[in-house]
Protein backbone atom coordinates (compact mmCIF):
# COMPACT_ATOMS: atom_id res chain seq x y z
CA UNK A 1 0.00 0.00 0.00
CA UNK A 2 1.44 3.31 -0.95
CA UNK A 3 1.96 6.14 1.46
CA UNK A 4 0.62 8.59 -1.08
CA UNK A 5 -2.88 7.13 -1.04
CA UNK A 6 -2.90 6.68 2.71
CA UNK A 7 -1.85 10.26 3.33
CA UNK A 8 -4.38 11.56 0.83
CA UNK A 9 -7.19 9.62 2.50
CA UNK A 10 -6.01 11.11 5.79
CA UNK A 11 -6.33 14.62 4.37
CA UNK A 12 -9.95 14.19 3.24
CA UNK A 13 -12.33 16.52 5.02
CA UNK A 14 -14.50 13.72 6.48
CA UNK A 15 -15.51 13.21 10.13
CA UNK A 16 -14.31 9.67 10.90
CA UNK A 17 -15.34 7.98 14.11
CA UNK A 18 -13.08 5.70 16.18
CA UNK A 19 -13.74 2.83 13.74
CA UNK A 20 -12.78 4.98 10.76
CA UNK A 21 -16.38 5.14 9.52
CA UNK A 22 -18.27 8.31 8.58
CA UNK A 23 -22.02 8.88 9.17
CA UNK A 24 -22.80 7.51 5.67
CA UNK A 25 -20.89 4.25 6.13
CA UNK A 26 -17.77 5.32 4.24
CA UNK A 27 -14.77 3.43 5.64
CA UNK A 28 -11.32 5.00 5.74
CA UNK A 29 -9.48 1.70 5.22
CA UNK A 30 -11.69 0.71 2.30
CA UNK A 31 -10.97 4.04 0.61
CA UNK A 32 -7.26 3.18 0.66
CA UNK A 33 -7.52 0.00 -1.40
CA UNK A 34 -10.27 1.50 -3.53
CA UNK A 35 -8.05 4.39 -4.55
CA UNK A 36 -5.04 2.08 -5.02
CA UNK A 37 -7.07 0.24 -7.63
CA UNK A 38 -8.53 3.41 -9.09
CA UNK A 39 -5.07 4.96 -9.40
CA UNK A 40 -3.76 1.94 -11.32
CA UNK A 41 -6.62 2.31 -13.80
CA UNK A 42 -6.31 6.08 -13.91
CA UNK A 43 -2.54 6.32 -14.38
CA UNK A 44 -1.40 3.02 -15.87
CA UNK A 45 -4.27 1.39 -17.73
CA UNK A 46 -6.12 4.31 -19.28
CA UNK A 47 -3.80 7.33 -19.07
CA UNK A 48 -6.41 9.86 -18.05
CA UNK A 49 -5.66 13.48 -18.85
CA UNK A 50 -7.50 15.95 -16.71
CA UNK A 51 -7.81 19.71 -16.79
CA UNK A 52 -9.54 22.51 -14.97
CA UNK A 53 -9.26 21.50 -11.30
CA UNK A 54 -9.09 25.20 -10.37
CA UNK A 55 -12.84 25.17 -11.11
CA UNK A 56 -13.59 22.56 -8.45
CA UNK A 57 -14.05 24.15 -4.99
CA UNK A 58 -11.35 23.05 -2.54
CA UNK A 59 -14.00 22.66 0.16
CA UNK A 60 -17.73 23.05 0.62
CA UNK A 61 -20.71 21.86 -1.36
CA UNK A 62 -20.57 21.55 -5.12
CA UNK A 63 -22.08 19.39 -7.84
CA UNK A 64 -19.92 17.95 -10.60
CA UNK A 65 -22.25 17.55 -13.56
CA UNK A 66 -21.26 15.97 -16.85
CA UNK A 67 -21.79 13.48 -19.63
CA UNK A 68 -21.71 9.71 -19.53
CA UNK A 69 -19.04 8.19 -21.73
CA UNK A 70 -18.75 4.43 -21.97
CA UNK A 71 -21.11 1.53 -21.40
CA UNK A 72 -20.42 1.07 -17.71
CA UNK A 73 -19.81 3.77 -15.15
CA UNK A 74 -16.08 3.85 -15.81
CA UNK A 75 -16.32 7.60 -16.31
CA UNK A 76 -17.65 7.97 -12.76
CA UNK A 77 -14.79 5.95 -11.32
CA UNK A 78 -12.20 7.99 -13.23
CA UNK A 79 -13.84 11.25 -12.15
CA UNK A 80 -13.71 10.17 -8.50
CA UNK A 81 -10.06 9.18 -8.99
CA UNK A 82 -9.26 12.52 -10.65
CA UNK A 83 -10.47 14.81 -7.87
CA UNK A 84 -8.85 12.52 -5.30
CA UNK A 85 -5.46 12.13 -6.99
CA UNK A 86 -5.01 15.52 -8.64
CA UNK A 87 -6.46 17.96 -6.12
CA UNK A 88 -4.67 19.29 -3.07
CA UNK A 89 -6.17 18.72 -0.58
CA UNK A 90 -7.89 15.75 -2.19
CA UNK A 91 -11.68 15.53 -2.35
CA UNK A 92 -14.01 12.57 -2.23
CA UNK A 93 -16.59 12.86 -5.00
CA UNK A 94 -19.76 11.02 -4.10
CA UNK A 95 -21.71 9.75 -7.09
CA UNK A 96 -25.43 9.23 -7.16
CA UNK A 97 -25.51 5.64 -8.33
CA UNK A 98 -28.11 3.52 -10.12
CA UNK A 99 -30.77 2.07 -7.85
CA UNK A 100 -30.38 -1.51 -9.04
CA UNK A 101 -26.87 -1.71 -7.58
CA UNK A 102 -28.29 -1.66 -4.04
CA UNK A 103 -29.68 -5.16 -4.69
CA UNK A 104 -26.43 -6.58 -6.00
CA UNK A 105 -24.44 -8.68 -3.52
CA UNK A 106 -20.91 -7.35 -2.82
CA UNK A 107 -21.49 -4.25 -4.96
CA UNK A 108 -23.97 -2.88 -2.45
CA UNK A 109 -21.72 -2.81 0.66
CA UNK A 110 -18.62 -2.05 -1.41
CA UNK A 111 -20.14 1.10 -2.88
CA UNK A 112 -21.42 2.14 0.52
CA UNK A 113 -17.95 1.73 2.11
CA UNK A 114 -16.37 4.00 -0.50
CA UNK A 115 -18.94 6.76 -0.10
CA UNK A 116 -21.15 6.05 -3.12
CA UNK A 117 -24.87 6.24 -2.35
CA UNK A 118 -28.01 5.44 -4.31
CA UNK A 119 -29.23 8.34 -6.43
CA UNK A 120 -32.08 9.69 -4.34
CA UNK A 121 -33.05 13.35 -3.85
CA UNK A 122 -32.84 12.79 -0.08
CA UNK A 123 -29.19 11.78 -0.42
CA UNK A 124 -28.37 14.75 -2.63
CA UNK A 125 -29.81 17.25 -0.16
CA UNK A 126 -28.25 15.59 2.88
CA UNK A 127 -24.76 15.33 1.38
CA UNK A 128 -24.82 18.90 0.07
CA UNK A 129 -25.96 20.28 3.43
CA UNK A 130 -22.97 18.36 4.83
CA UNK A 131 -20.73 20.31 2.39
CA UNK A 132 -19.81 17.24 0.35
CA UNK A 133 -18.83 17.07 -3.32
CA UNK A 134 -21.47 15.38 -5.46
CA UNK A 135 -21.01 13.69 -8.82
CA UNK A 136 -24.09 13.69 -11.04
CA UNK A 137 -24.70 12.30 -14.51
CA UNK A 138 -28.05 13.80 -15.51
CA UNK A 139 -28.22 11.44 -18.48
CA UNK A 140 -28.52 8.54 -16.06
CA UNK A 141 -28.75 5.01 -17.46
CA UNK A 142 -29.80 6.52 -20.81
CA UNK A 143 -26.30 7.98 -20.94
CA UNK A 144 -24.34 4.80 -20.37
CA UNK A 145 -26.55 3.13 -23.00
CA UNK A 146 -25.15 5.37 -25.77
CA UNK A 147 -23.96 3.30 -28.72
CA UNK A 148 -20.47 3.65 -30.19
CA UNK A 149 -21.42 5.94 -33.08
CA UNK A 150 -23.30 8.23 -30.70
CA UNK A 151 -20.52 8.23 -28.11
CA UNK A 152 -19.89 11.99 -28.06
CA UNK A 153 -23.51 13.06 -28.16
CA UNK A 154 -25.69 14.00 -25.23
CA UNK A 155 -29.02 12.34 -24.54
CA UNK A 156 -31.88 13.84 -22.55
CA UNK A 157 -30.91 15.36 -19.20
CA UNK A 158 -32.95 14.81 -16.06
CA UNK A 159 -33.92 18.05 -14.35
CA UNK A 160 -33.90 16.90 -10.73
CA UNK A 161 -30.29 17.92 -10.21
CA UNK A 162 -31.05 21.54 -11.11
CA UNK A 163 -33.97 21.82 -8.68
CA UNK A 164 -31.82 20.34 -5.92
CA UNK A 165 -28.90 22.66 -6.75
CA UNK A 166 -31.23 25.68 -6.53
CA UNK A 167 -32.84 24.43 -3.34
CA UNK A 168 -29.47 24.00 -1.62
CA UNK A 169 -27.66 26.95 -3.21
CA UNK A 170 -25.04 24.68 -4.73
CA UNK A 171 -22.66 25.70 -7.53
CA UNK A 172 -22.59 23.40 -10.55
CA UNK A 173 -19.19 22.51 -11.97
CA UNK A 174 -19.72 21.19 -15.51
CA UNK A 175 -17.33 18.65 -17.00
CA UNK A 176 -16.89 16.90 -20.31
CA UNK A 177 -15.60 13.34 -20.40
CA UNK A 178 -14.24 11.87 -23.63
CA UNK A 179 -12.75 8.56 -24.65
CA UNK A 180 -15.05 6.23 -22.70
CA UNK A 181 -16.92 5.35 -25.88
CA UNK A 182 -13.65 4.07 -27.37
CA UNK A 183 -12.74 2.16 -24.24
CA UNK A 184 -16.06 0.35 -24.31
CA UNK A 185 -17.46 0.57 -27.83
CA UNK A 186 -21.05 -0.50 -27.30
CA UNK A 187 -22.56 -1.96 -30.46
CA UNK A 188 -25.78 -3.05 -28.78
CA UNK A 189 -27.40 -3.19 -25.38
CA UNK A 190 -28.98 -6.42 -24.22
CA UNK A 191 -31.99 -5.54 -22.15
CA UNK A 192 -32.91 -9.22 -21.85
CA UNK A 193 -29.55 -10.14 -20.32
CA UNK A 194 -29.92 -7.08 -18.09
CA UNK A 195 -33.27 -8.25 -16.77
CA UNK A 196 -31.71 -11.62 -16.05
CA UNK A 197 -28.94 -9.98 -14.00
CA UNK A 198 -31.19 -7.40 -12.36
CA UNK A 199 -29.53 -4.52 -14.24
CA UNK A 200 -31.24 -2.08 -16.65
CA UNK A 201 -29.24 -3.62 -19.55
CA UNK A 202 -25.85 -5.09 -20.39
CA UNK A 203 -23.72 -3.30 -23.02
CA UNK A 204 -22.29 -5.59 -25.70
CA UNK A 205 -19.02 -4.85 -27.51
CA UNK A 206 -17.39 -6.49 -30.56
CA UNK A 207 -15.72 -8.81 -28.02
CA UNK A 208 -19.10 -9.26 -26.31
CA UNK A 209 -18.35 -8.33 -22.72
CA UNK A 210 -17.89 -4.68 -21.73
CA UNK A 211 -14.20 -5.12 -20.88
CA UNK A 212 -12.61 -1.73 -21.53
CA UNK A 213 -9.64 -1.17 -23.85
CA UNK A 214 -6.62 0.69 -22.46
CA UNK A 215 -7.25 3.89 -24.37
CA UNK A 216 -6.60 7.53 -23.57
CA UNK A 217 -9.38 9.28 -21.65
CA UNK A 218 -9.78 12.95 -20.90
CA UNK A 219 -11.84 14.97 -18.48
CA UNK A 220 -12.14 18.73 -18.44
CA UNK A 221 -13.87 20.82 -15.78
CA UNK A 222 -15.34 24.19 -16.71
CA UNK A 223 -15.92 27.26 -14.52
CA UNK A 224 -18.57 26.82 -11.82
CA UNK A 225 -22.09 27.92 -12.75
CA UNK A 226 -24.24 29.65 -10.15
CA UNK A 227 -27.99 29.73 -10.65
CA UNK A 228 -30.50 31.79 -8.73
CA UNK A 229 -33.83 30.36 -7.62
CA UNK A 230 -35.72 28.34 -5.06
CA UNK A 231 -35.96 25.05 -6.96
CA UNK A 232 -39.72 25.50 -7.05
CA UNK A 233 -39.87 27.13 -10.50
CA UNK A 234 -42.01 25.69 -13.29
CA UNK A 235 -40.56 23.03 -15.55
CA UNK A 236 -39.91 25.41 -18.44
CA UNK A 237 -37.62 27.71 -16.49
CA UNK A 238 -35.78 24.74 -14.93
CA UNK A 239 -35.30 23.18 -18.35
CA UNK A 240 -33.90 26.43 -19.66
CA UNK A 241 -31.24 26.38 -16.90
CA UNK A 242 -30.51 22.70 -17.54
CA UNK A 243 -30.02 23.55 -21.21
CA UNK A 244 -27.32 26.09 -20.26
CA UNK A 245 -25.44 23.39 -18.35
CA UNK A 246 -25.87 20.95 -21.21
CA UNK A 247 -24.50 23.49 -23.68
CA UNK A 248 -21.45 24.10 -21.49
CA UNK A 249 -20.84 20.34 -21.25
CA UNK A 250 -21.17 20.05 -25.05
CA UNK A 251 -18.42 22.69 -25.43
CA UNK A 252 -16.19 20.93 -22.91
CA UNK A 253 -16.61 17.65 -24.81
CA UNK A 254 -15.62 19.48 -28.02
CA UNK A 255 -12.45 20.87 -26.44
CA UNK A 256 -11.70 17.44 -25.01
CA UNK A 257 -12.01 15.75 -28.41
CA UNK A 258 -9.62 18.28 -29.97
CA UNK A 259 -7.17 17.57 -27.16
CA UNK A 260 -7.33 13.80 -27.70
CA UNK A 261 -6.74 14.23 -31.46
CA UNK A 262 -3.69 16.47 -31.06
CA UNK A 263 -2.15 14.37 -28.28
Amino acid sequence: MSEEIRSRVGRLDIPWNQYGIDPYGTARDDLVWFFEAARALYRSYFHVQSFGFENVPARGRAMLVGNHSGGVALDGLMLIAAVFLEMDPPRLAQAMIEKFLAHVPFASPLLSRVGQLTGLPEHVVRLLRDERLLLVFPEGARGTAKLFWKRNSLVQFGTGFMRLALQTGTPIVPFGFVGGGLAIPTIANSYKLGRLLGAPYVPLTPWLLPVPLPVRLAVRFGPAMHFEGSGNEDDASIEEKVEQVKERIRQLIGVGLEGLKSA
Binding site: N17, Q18, Y19, I21, D22, P23, Y24, G25, A27, K99, A102, H103, V104, P105, F106, S108, P109, S112, R113, L117, T118, L120, E122, H123, R126
Partner: protein, 314 residues
Protein backbone atom coordinates in the same frame (compact mmCIF):
# COMPACT_ATOMS: atom_id res chain seq x y z
CA UNK B 1 -44.36 14.02 38.09
CA UNK B 2 -46.54 10.95 38.69
CA UNK B 3 -45.71 8.53 35.88
CA UNK B 4 -47.31 5.18 35.07
CA UNK B 5 -45.27 2.71 33.03
CA UNK B 6 -47.25 -0.11 31.42
CA UNK B 7 -44.76 -2.84 30.56
CA UNK B 8 -42.50 -1.81 33.45
CA UNK B 9 -41.02 -5.30 33.93
CA UNK B 10 -39.36 -5.33 30.53
CA UNK B 11 -35.58 -4.97 30.52
CA UNK B 12 -35.54 -1.59 28.82
CA UNK B 13 -38.53 -0.35 30.83
CA UNK B 14 -36.65 -1.13 34.05
CA UNK B 15 -33.91 1.22 32.92
CA UNK B 16 -36.54 3.85 32.21
CA UNK B 17 -38.12 3.41 35.66
CA UNK B 18 -34.73 3.80 37.35
CA UNK B 19 -33.96 6.88 35.31
CA UNK B 20 -37.31 8.43 36.24
CA UNK B 21 -36.69 7.73 39.93
CA UNK B 22 -33.27 9.31 39.73
CA UNK B 23 -34.89 12.40 38.26
CA UNK B 24 -37.30 12.62 41.20
CA UNK B 25 -40.47 11.32 39.55
CA UNK B 26 -43.03 9.16 41.31
CA UNK B 27 -43.41 5.91 39.34
CA UNK B 28 -45.77 2.94 39.27
CA UNK B 29 -45.70 0.03 36.86
CA UNK B 30 -48.22 -2.27 35.23
CA UNK B 31 -47.09 -5.57 33.78
CA UNK B 32 -48.46 -9.08 33.34
CA UNK B 33 -45.01 -10.28 34.36
CA UNK B 34 -43.69 -9.59 37.86
CA UNK B 35 -40.48 -7.62 38.46
CA UNK B 36 -38.69 -9.37 41.30
CA UNK B 37 -36.38 -6.92 43.00
CA UNK B 38 -38.13 -3.82 41.71
CA UNK B 39 -37.16 -0.66 43.61
CA UNK B 40 -39.15 -0.52 46.89
CA UNK B 41 -40.77 2.80 46.02
CA UNK B 42 -42.17 1.48 42.72
CA UNK B 43 -45.37 -0.58 43.03
CA UNK B 44 -45.64 -3.06 40.16
CA UNK B 45 -49.25 -4.04 39.51
CA UNK B 46 -49.30 -7.49 37.98
CA UNK B 47 -52.28 -7.18 35.65
CA UNK B 48 -52.92 -7.22 31.92
CA UNK B 49 -53.01 -3.62 30.69
CA UNK B 50 -56.15 -4.43 28.69
CA UNK B 51 -58.12 -5.50 31.78
CA UNK B 52 -60.44 -3.44 33.97
CA UNK B 53 -58.02 -3.60 36.89
CA UNK B 54 -55.52 -1.57 34.90
CA UNK B 55 -58.01 1.25 34.49
CA UNK B 56 -58.63 1.23 38.22
CA UNK B 57 -54.93 1.71 38.86
CA UNK B 58 -55.11 4.88 36.80
CA UNK B 59 -58.16 6.05 38.77
CA UNK B 60 -56.28 5.67 42.04
CA UNK B 61 -52.76 6.70 41.08
CA UNK B 62 -53.96 9.60 38.88
CA UNK B 63 -50.73 9.72 36.82
CA UNK B 64 -49.81 12.90 34.98
CA UNK B 65 -48.07 10.89 32.28
CA UNK B 66 -48.11 7.35 30.90
CA UNK B 67 -45.07 5.83 29.17
CA UNK B 68 -46.42 2.94 27.14
CA UNK B 69 -43.81 0.18 26.95
CA UNK B 70 -46.18 -2.81 27.01
CA UNK B 71 -45.68 -3.92 23.43
CA UNK B 72 -44.44 -7.42 22.71
CA UNK B 73 -41.53 -7.33 20.30
CA UNK B 74 -39.89 -10.71 20.39
CA UNK B 75 -40.83 -12.96 17.54
CA UNK B 76 -41.57 -16.03 19.65
CA UNK B 77 -45.12 -14.88 20.29
CA UNK B 78 -47.58 -16.01 17.64
CA UNK B 79 -48.50 -13.20 15.28
CA UNK B 80 -52.23 -13.15 16.10
CA UNK B 81 -51.50 -12.96 19.82
CA UNK B 82 -49.04 -10.19 19.29
CA UNK B 83 -51.52 -8.30 17.18
CA UNK B 84 -54.12 -8.47 19.94
CA UNK B 85 -51.69 -7.57 22.71
CA UNK B 86 -49.96 -4.74 20.89
CA UNK B 87 -52.98 -3.07 19.32
CA UNK B 88 -55.47 -3.84 22.10
CA UNK B 89 -52.97 -2.70 24.70
CA UNK B 90 -52.15 0.51 22.90
CA UNK B 91 -55.82 1.32 22.44
CA UNK B 92 -56.52 0.67 26.13
CA UNK B 93 -53.63 2.87 27.28
CA UNK B 94 -54.76 5.84 25.19
CA UNK B 95 -58.42 5.48 26.11
CA UNK B 96 -57.77 5.26 29.85
CA UNK B 97 -55.40 8.20 29.64
CA UNK B 98 -57.91 10.31 27.76
CA UNK B 99 -60.80 9.37 30.04
CA UNK B 100 -58.98 10.03 33.31
CA UNK B 101 -57.29 13.34 32.67
CA UNK B 102 -53.75 12.06 32.14
CA UNK B 103 -51.92 14.94 30.46
CA UNK B 104 -49.35 13.06 28.42
CA UNK B 105 -48.75 9.68 26.76
CA UNK B 106 -45.46 8.49 25.31
CA UNK B 107 -45.67 5.56 22.91
CA UNK B 108 -42.30 3.82 22.78
CA UNK B 109 -42.01 2.46 19.25
CA UNK B 110 -39.19 1.27 17.05
CA UNK B 111 -37.21 2.53 14.12
CA UNK B 112 -37.91 -0.73 12.27
CA UNK B 113 -41.20 1.03 11.42
CA UNK B 114 -39.51 2.26 8.22
CA UNK B 115 -38.48 -1.22 7.10
CA UNK B 116 -35.36 -2.42 5.32
CA UNK B 117 -35.45 -2.16 1.52
CA UNK B 118 -32.85 -1.44 -1.13
CA UNK B 119 -33.95 1.93 -2.53
CA UNK B 120 -34.60 3.55 0.84
CA UNK B 121 -32.88 6.79 1.76
CA UNK B 122 -30.07 6.07 4.21
CA UNK B 123 -31.50 8.43 6.85
CA UNK B 124 -35.24 8.08 7.41
CA UNK B 125 -37.24 11.12 8.50
CA UNK B 126 -40.52 11.08 10.41
CA UNK B 127 -42.60 12.02 7.37
CA UNK B 128 -41.92 8.73 5.59
CA UNK B 129 -44.56 5.99 5.33
CA UNK B 130 -43.72 2.41 6.39
CA UNK B 131 -42.67 1.30 2.91
CA UNK B 132 -41.75 -2.28 3.80
CA UNK B 133 -44.74 -3.20 5.97
CA UNK B 134 -45.89 -5.82 3.46
CA UNK B 135 -42.60 -7.68 3.44
CA UNK B 136 -42.28 -8.41 7.15
CA UNK B 137 -45.67 -9.63 8.45
CA UNK B 138 -44.16 -10.34 11.86
CA UNK B 139 -43.63 -6.61 12.39
CA UNK B 140 -46.99 -5.47 11.03
CA UNK B 141 -48.57 -5.19 14.49
CA UNK B 142 -45.86 -2.82 15.69
CA UNK B 143 -46.24 -0.64 12.62
CA UNK B 144 -50.01 -0.61 13.12
CA UNK B 145 -49.59 0.25 16.81
CA UNK B 146 -47.27 3.13 15.88
CA UNK B 147 -49.74 4.52 13.34
CA UNK B 148 -52.65 3.97 15.73
CA UNK B 149 -50.83 5.83 18.51
CA UNK B 150 -50.28 8.73 16.10
CA UNK B 151 -54.03 9.10 15.66
CA UNK B 152 -54.19 10.31 19.26
CA UNK B 153 -52.42 13.45 18.01
CA UNK B 154 -55.71 14.59 16.43
CA UNK B 155 -58.29 12.39 18.16
CA UNK B 156 -57.32 13.38 21.68
CA UNK B 157 -56.42 17.07 21.56
CA UNK B 158 -56.23 17.37 25.36
CA UNK B 159 -53.45 14.81 25.46
CA UNK B 160 -49.79 15.53 24.75
CA UNK B 161 -48.87 12.52 22.62
CA UNK B 162 -45.38 11.53 21.58
CA UNK B 163 -44.68 8.59 19.31
CA UNK B 164 -41.01 7.64 19.56
CA UNK B 165 -39.27 5.54 16.93
CA UNK B 166 -36.17 4.42 18.78
CA UNK B 167 -33.21 2.72 17.14
CA UNK B 168 -31.82 -0.60 18.42
CA UNK B 169 -30.64 -0.64 22.02
CA UNK B 170 -27.42 -2.26 23.16
CA UNK B 171 -25.74 -2.38 26.52
CA UNK B 172 -25.79 -3.96 29.95
CA UNK B 173 -29.50 -4.84 29.87
CA UNK B 174 -28.66 -7.21 26.98
CA UNK B 175 -32.16 -6.71 25.76
CA UNK B 176 -33.67 -6.02 22.39
CA UNK B 177 -33.62 -7.41 18.88
CA UNK B 178 -30.01 -6.50 18.09
CA UNK B 179 -28.68 -7.64 21.47
CA UNK B 180 -30.46 -10.99 21.07
CA UNK B 181 -29.02 -11.39 17.60
CA UNK B 182 -25.45 -10.60 18.70
CA UNK B 183 -25.55 -12.92 21.71
CA UNK B 184 -24.44 -15.91 19.66
CA UNK B 185 -20.74 -16.53 19.11
CA UNK B 186 -21.29 -17.20 15.45
CA UNK B 187 -23.45 -14.46 14.05
CA UNK B 188 -24.89 -15.19 10.61
CA UNK B 189 -24.77 -12.47 7.98
CA UNK B 190 -25.89 -12.44 4.35
CA UNK B 191 -22.96 -13.09 2.01
CA UNK B 192 -22.33 -9.97 -0.08
CA UNK B 193 -24.14 -7.56 2.25
CA UNK B 194 -23.03 -5.57 5.27
CA UNK B 195 -25.71 -3.02 6.21
CA UNK B 196 -25.29 -0.16 8.63
CA UNK B 197 -26.92 -0.69 12.02
CA UNK B 198 -27.88 2.12 14.36
CA UNK B 199 -27.92 1.51 18.08
CA UNK B 200 -27.68 3.36 21.35
CA UNK B 201 -26.80 2.53 24.94
CA UNK B 202 -29.65 1.37 27.24
CA UNK B 203 -29.00 4.25 29.61
CA UNK B 204 -29.13 6.78 26.79
CA UNK B 205 -32.47 5.36 25.65
CA UNK B 206 -33.80 5.72 29.19
CA UNK B 207 -32.50 9.31 29.34
CA UNK B 208 -34.04 10.11 25.96
CA UNK B 209 -37.47 8.86 27.10
CA UNK B 210 -37.19 10.83 30.35
CA UNK B 211 -36.23 13.97 28.43
CA UNK B 212 -39.20 13.44 26.10
CA UNK B 213 -41.41 13.28 29.19
CA UNK B 214 -40.00 16.47 30.67
CA UNK B 215 -40.16 18.36 27.37
CA UNK B 216 -43.82 17.27 26.94
CA UNK B 217 -43.28 16.52 23.28
CA UNK B 218 -46.28 16.39 20.98
CA UNK B 219 -45.56 14.60 17.72
CA UNK B 220 -43.69 11.76 16.05
CA UNK B 221 -39.95 11.61 16.68
CA UNK B 222 -37.05 9.40 15.66
CA UNK B 223 -34.66 8.73 18.52
CA UNK B 224 -31.03 7.78 17.94
CA UNK B 225 -27.60 8.23 19.46
CA UNK B 226 -24.25 7.71 17.72
CA UNK B 227 -23.98 7.34 13.92
CA UNK B 228 -24.47 3.82 12.52
CA UNK B 229 -21.79 1.14 11.98
CA UNK B 230 -21.56 -1.76 9.52
CA UNK B 231 -22.97 -4.95 11.01
CA UNK B 232 -19.64 -6.79 10.64
CA UNK B 233 -17.85 -4.07 12.63
CA UNK B 234 -20.37 -4.41 15.45
CA UNK B 235 -20.11 -8.23 15.52
CA UNK B 236 -16.32 -8.10 15.70
CA UNK B 237 -16.48 -5.32 18.29
CA UNK B 238 -18.53 -7.60 20.52
CA UNK B 239 -15.81 -10.23 20.10
CA UNK B 240 -17.95 -12.56 17.99
CA UNK B 241 -17.52 -14.01 14.54
CA UNK B 242 -19.59 -12.96 11.53
CA UNK B 243 -20.49 -15.99 9.40
CA UNK B 244 -21.42 -14.77 5.90
CA UNK B 245 -23.80 -17.24 4.29
CA UNK B 246 -25.53 -17.29 0.91
CA UNK B 247 -29.08 -16.11 1.33
CA UNK B 248 -30.87 -19.43 0.58
CA UNK B 249 -28.61 -21.27 3.00
CA UNK B 250 -29.19 -18.66 5.67
CA UNK B 251 -32.95 -19.20 5.47
CA UNK B 252 -32.37 -22.85 6.31
CA UNK B 253 -29.87 -22.08 9.07
CA UNK B 254 -32.19 -19.88 11.15
CA UNK B 255 -32.95 -21.69 14.38
CA UNK B 256 -30.49 -24.50 13.67
CA UNK B 257 -26.80 -25.20 14.41
CA UNK B 258 -26.65 -22.58 17.14
CA UNK B 259 -27.90 -19.81 14.89
CA UNK B 260 -30.62 -17.47 16.12
CA UNK B 261 -34.19 -18.26 15.19
CA UNK B 262 -35.55 -15.55 12.92
CA UNK B 263 -38.39 -15.35 10.41
CA UNK B 264 -37.30 -15.36 6.74
CA UNK B 265 -38.37 -11.73 6.36
CA UNK B 266 -35.63 -10.74 8.81
CA UNK B 267 -33.12 -11.36 6.03
CA UNK B 268 -33.96 -7.95 4.53
CA UNK B 269 -32.80 -6.42 7.82
CA UNK B 270 -29.44 -8.15 7.34
CA UNK B 271 -29.09 -6.81 3.79
CA UNK B 272 -30.30 -3.23 3.93
CA UNK B 273 -29.85 -0.57 6.60
CA UNK B 274 -32.53 1.03 8.76
CA UNK B 275 -31.07 4.29 9.96
CA UNK B 276 -33.03 7.27 11.24
CA UNK B 277 -32.44 11.00 11.35
CA UNK B 278 -33.05 12.09 14.94
CA UNK B 279 -32.37 15.79 14.42
CA UNK B 280 -35.90 16.90 15.33
CA UNK B 281 -35.85 15.00 18.61
CA UNK B 282 -32.48 16.46 19.57
CA UNK B 283 -33.69 19.95 18.77
CA UNK B 284 -36.94 19.55 20.68
CA UNK B 285 -35.42 18.04 23.82
CA UNK B 286 -31.76 19.05 23.83
CA UNK B 287 -30.91 15.35 24.08
CA UNK B 288 -27.28 14.34 23.58
CA UNK B 289 -26.12 10.74 23.88
CA UNK B 290 -23.44 10.16 26.52
CA UNK B 291 -22.16 6.79 25.34
CA UNK B 292 -20.60 6.71 21.89
CA UNK B 293 -20.67 3.67 19.60
CA UNK B 294 -17.44 2.22 21.02
CA UNK B 295 -18.48 2.57 24.66
CA UNK B 296 -21.87 1.05 23.88
CA UNK B 297 -20.37 -1.98 22.16
CA UNK B 298 -17.86 -2.36 24.99
CA UNK B 299 -20.60 -2.20 27.64
CA UNK B 300 -22.52 -4.92 25.84
CA UNK B 301 -19.42 -7.05 25.35
CA UNK B 302 -18.49 -6.80 29.02
CA UNK B 303 -21.96 -7.73 30.20
CA UNK B 304 -21.94 -10.79 27.92
CA UNK B 305 -18.65 -11.94 29.46
CA UNK B 306 -19.58 -11.22 33.05
CA UNK B 307 -22.58 -13.47 33.45
CA UNK B 308 -24.29 -15.95 31.23
CA UNK B 309 -27.65 -15.96 33.09
CA UNK B 310 -29.81 -13.02 32.12
CA UNK B 311 -29.49 -11.06 35.33
CA UNK B 312 -30.05 -7.35 35.18
CA UNK B 313 -27.11 -5.04 35.58
CA UNK B 314 -28.10 -1.59 36.67
Amino acid sequence: MRVLVPGASGMLAREVVRELLARGHEVQGIDARPWPGAPAEVPIHVVDVRKRAAEDIIRHFRPEAVIHMATVTHLREKSEDRYRINLGGTRAVFEYANAHGVGQVIFVGRHTFYGAYPDAPLYHTEDEPPMAAHSFPELADLIAADLYASTALWRMPNLKTSVLRICYTLGPARHGTLAAFLRFHRVPTVLGFDPLFQFMHDHDVARAIAQCLEAKLHGVYNVAGPPPLPLSTIIRGVGHQPIPMPEPLLRLAFGRLGFPSLPPAAIAHLKYPIVVDATSFRKATGFEHRKDEGQTIEAFRKSLRESSPRSVVS
